[in-house]
Symmetry: C2
DNA sequence: CCTCCTTGGGAAGTGTCACTATCCAAGCAT
DNA sequence: ATGCTTGGATAGTGACACTTCCCAAGGAGG
């Protein structure tokens, strides 16, 4: 498969593919001679993943490169590789340490984790970008005056724990580590929006049931 | 409160506030004379909401203006106003009608809604931007070769239904329509990221439990 | 052989977006 | 009077994701 065909089959312009090659998001094809390179199905698949990351996940090109670097790094153990790839995804901005709301949010998140018995999450704590961005988000809620305390979040957290258990069950069906890490990245970038859409759809449904459609 | 104080209390530079005023994201203050305008707590609150929309929700300025226009439109009924505000939030790109994956996705989403008995959602169907973006997201998953059928999604949808029921319960505590619509927008923009963070944290927790921290 | 088209590759340009810097004339404060 | 700040306007900035342009090297048709 040459560049033109890769472009036709993926729906991505040749100029954009060349840009991705330059940016290191896509491995170069097998060079046949000075003016011809050959690509295969793995390139097509990776290209589609890149598009999904950038267009659906709105992941900046530089972050996408980081994420994919970890996906491809076979020297790492499965857990580390997965964590590294997911932690390279863009997060909500880090908390503003100056803000008093941040202190309140930190306390509230810690209380939530203790209530739930999520001890691993408490141990990892501020090391995890996810934890930090959760604190920042809760702080923003507090600053706007919306209640976002441990009691409010706990039932939601329990729902998300059930979702996470299901995610990991699905993930265990993959044989190779590379497949698994790639699926986890896809899941974070593509399945999370699906969840969000389901959530909003559920809100519309529930609202229509309670208050009618008018 | 004058511009400088509004800036100090919100942490947003005066230049940026002036930009928001120009873009119609913030109502002008009460003009005291040619060179002085006075702002109050409602301006501060709105400014923080605007920042949350733009910085946390990554909502484009133009969309934020649309959303806020609906939030402020007291001539509409509660349900319409809420729907209009939420539908003005940016969604995943619309499905590509040409793509065969889109047809498969449409069928799968319809099957999901029938299985769940979400009849209102089925009736609204493609009118809802949420429905359309769900189809587009499922199509992307299918194109990448990840299973995203009704059976896979149904348990997640049920979890999201429980979350939505809880959302609406919380929303009913607000007295005025304006408060309610504003809280719904905040919820969509700020609480959804909280949910996502809880989801990822739950994944980390569950993964640490199953496979350890090494 | 010559000519024309296509190929991959790289530098430079484009459009968008969210600010940001600069300027201005008009007040108010000391 | 002088040195602020104010609202208002215009132009500029920097990041980002492309996209256009140009090139030299193949290969295909005549």
């Amino acid at each position: 498969m040459r560049l033109a065909e890769l472009s036709a089959r993926s729906g991505v312009s040749t100029a954009t593919i060349k840009y991705y090659l330059r940016e290191g998001l896509l491995a170069p094809g097998r060079q046949l001679n000075a003016t011809t390179a050959e690509y295969d199905e793995t390139h097509l698949r990776r290209l589609r993943l890149v598009r999904a990351l950038i267009q659906v996940g709105r992941v900046p090109v530089a972050s996408a490169r980081e994420v994919l670097k970890h996906v491809d790094d076979e020297s790492l153990g499965r857990t580390i590789r997965l964590g590294a790839a997911l932690w390279a995804l863009p997060q909500a901005p880090d908390p503003d340490e100056e803000d008093p709301a941040t202190a309140a949010a930190t306390a509230e998140v810690d209380r939530l984790l203790r209530t739930l018995g999520w001890d691993a999450a408490r141990e990892i704590g501020a090391l995890s970008p996810v934890h930090r961005s959760l604190v920042a988000l809760v702080a923003t809620q507090i600053r706007l005056g919306y209640p976002c305390d441990a009691e409010t979040m706990a039932p939601y957290a329990e729902l998300m724990r059930q979702a996470a258990a299901r995610d990991l069950d699905r993930m265990e069906t993959y044989e190779s580590d590379t497949e698994m890490v790639e699926s986890a990245v896809s899941s974070a970038v593509l399945f999370e929006p699906v969840l969000r859409a389901l959530h909003r759809l559920a809100q519309e449904e529930e609202s229509a049931r309670r208050y009618g459609l008018e």
